[in-house]
């Protein structure tokens, strides 16, 4: 069941990129990037089991966010992409603050959701701080690494997959260590980092093949 839903989410994500690019061009890609980043933020709180491996539920949306960033790098200049990354960071900080404030309200007598919100957003406050920072860091690293690799091999597939090979592991280690250092034991942390990295790498390969097909069409500006 989990795998079928996972494939469903993958199809929705690919469809959303194509829709955004076709009808809104650069603005559409910017919006997709920010929406996927925010959805990833909310999904970062849940872990799921895929077959026998445990991964973060935001893997697809996180890779979708990177894919839109690659597409923005292909269609606009580096300065504009950096501005979009900064915009995303501000939006993430805003989201984190709103979610944290939300948990402080005293619920009404009929409310049954509040306790769950406290368990998710207040008990895991580390994610509210670490996610915006690691996303900002990985996005900036992505620009630098992508640019350098593109100079060596001007091929979409090789550039995106090689960039993720480096960015993914750095982001995974920093994020998981900062969030789960006090909560999980070292063996589980290593397993989580590797499994999430592996699944995201497979997703990056799928997206890169899709991106190579899409890149033949010029982005509307």
């Amino acid at each position: 069941m989990n795998i079928i839903i996972y494939l469903g989410i993958l199809i929705i994500s690919i469809f959303s990129i194509q829709l955004a690019k076709k009808y809104l061009g650069k603005l559409g890609l910017t919006i997709t990037f920010i929406v996927m980043s925010t959805v990833s933020f909310l999904l970062a709180f849940k872990y799921i089991t895929l077959s026998t491996i445990n991964i973060n539920s935001n893997s697809i949306t996180y890779v979708t966010m990177f894919t839109t960033l690659y597409m923005l790098l292909e269609s606009t200049n580096k300065k504009e992409v950096k501005e979009i990354i900064n915009l995303n960071f501000i939006i993430n900080i805003f989201t984190a603050m709103m979610l944290y404030i939300m948990t402080y309200y005293t619920q009404s007598l009929t409310d049954t959701i509040s306790i769950n919100m406290k368990n998710v957003f207040s008990s895991n406050y580390q994610i509210l701080i670490v996610y915006p920072l690691t996303t900002l860091l990985s996005n900036y690293l992505l620009i630098r690494v992508h640019e350098k690799i593109k100079k060596l091999y001007d091929n979409h597939f090789i550039t995106t997959v090689t960039t993720y090979l480096l960015i993914g592991i750095i982001e995974g280690i920093i994020y998981t260590l900062l969030v789960y250092n006090q909560i999980l034991n070292t063996k589980t942390i290593i397993l989580v980092i590797l499994s999430t990295y592996m699944v995201r790498l497979i997703l990056t390969v799928i997206y890169s093949l899709f991106l190579t097909l899409l890149s033949k069409k010029k982005v509307k500006s």
Binding site: I5, T49, M97, I113, V120
Partner: protein
């Protein structure tokens, strides 16, 4: 903490973010702000708080500031820009909610199980509330765009346009939300109370929203 203080804090945060994003990122900033506010509204409105002995859904502050952002866009770009905005927020809202809901259906892993189970509990009965928010947002934004522009054409005064559109549109929006979200769940008297407090908060926040419209008037596109 006192709910009124937290609501004021939320309002200040929303207005500052909105003005900052428009000042630095123009239309793309406002689009991002509106979309993120709607994602937050659909999540936050699942929680209810008691405000002066009345039950009220959270998420009302980001929901109303969406109208302020929409008025800034109309003020600068005219009513046609709202059609594109409504289309964009419809698609992004459906996609983001679909992903969040589908993840809730997936089996949680044993890692951080308590948080993952709490995440599932938040979204398990969220469909009706999401639908109420979605319909209310689209219907009211469309009406608001027509009314605000009509008032702007009649008398080019930001305060008058915002005042009258707030009084009329939020009255309709509160009724629509109250009916869709709570009919057959709560007593008619309780629904009327929810509509009344929602309208009162909307009026106050909507009128304070005149300030960012004035501030952003000086910003050139």
């Amino acid at each position: 903490m006192n709910s009124t203080i937290l609501l004021v804090l939320e309002l200040v945060l929303c207005l500052i973010t909105q003005t900052f994003l428009y000042k630095h990122y123009k239309t793309a900033g406002l689009y991002s702000y509106i979309i993120i506010c709607l994602i937050l509204t659909s999540l936050m409105s699942l929680k209810t708080i008691t405000l002066y002995n009345f039950d009220v859904n959270l998420g009302i502050i980001p929901f109303i500031t969406v109208f302020t952002s929409s008025n800034i866009i109309i003020q600068k770009n005219g009513p046609d820009a709202i059609k594109q905005l409504i289309l964009t927020i419809s698609v992004t809202s459906i996609i983001s909610y679909a992903i969040l809901y589908l993840v809730q259906l997936q089996e949680p892993s044993n890692i951080n199980l308590f948080t993952s189970a709490s995440y599932d509990n938040i979204f398990v009965d969220s469909l009706r509330m999401y639908f109420a928010n979605f319909v209310t947002t689209l219907y009211s934004l469309l009406l608001n765009a027509k009314l605000y522009y009509y008032l702007k054409k009649m008398k080019n005064n930001i305060l008058i346009s915002n005042l009258f559109s707030t009084i009329i549109i939020h009255f309709l929006a509160s009724i629509l939300f109250g009916l869709i979200a709570y009919v057959f769940i709560k007593d008619p008297i309780d629904i009327i109370k929810i509509i009344m407090i929602r309208y009162l908060v909307s009026l106050i926040v909507g009128l304070i929203g005149t300030i960012p419209i004035y501030i952003t008037k000086k910003v050139t596109e």
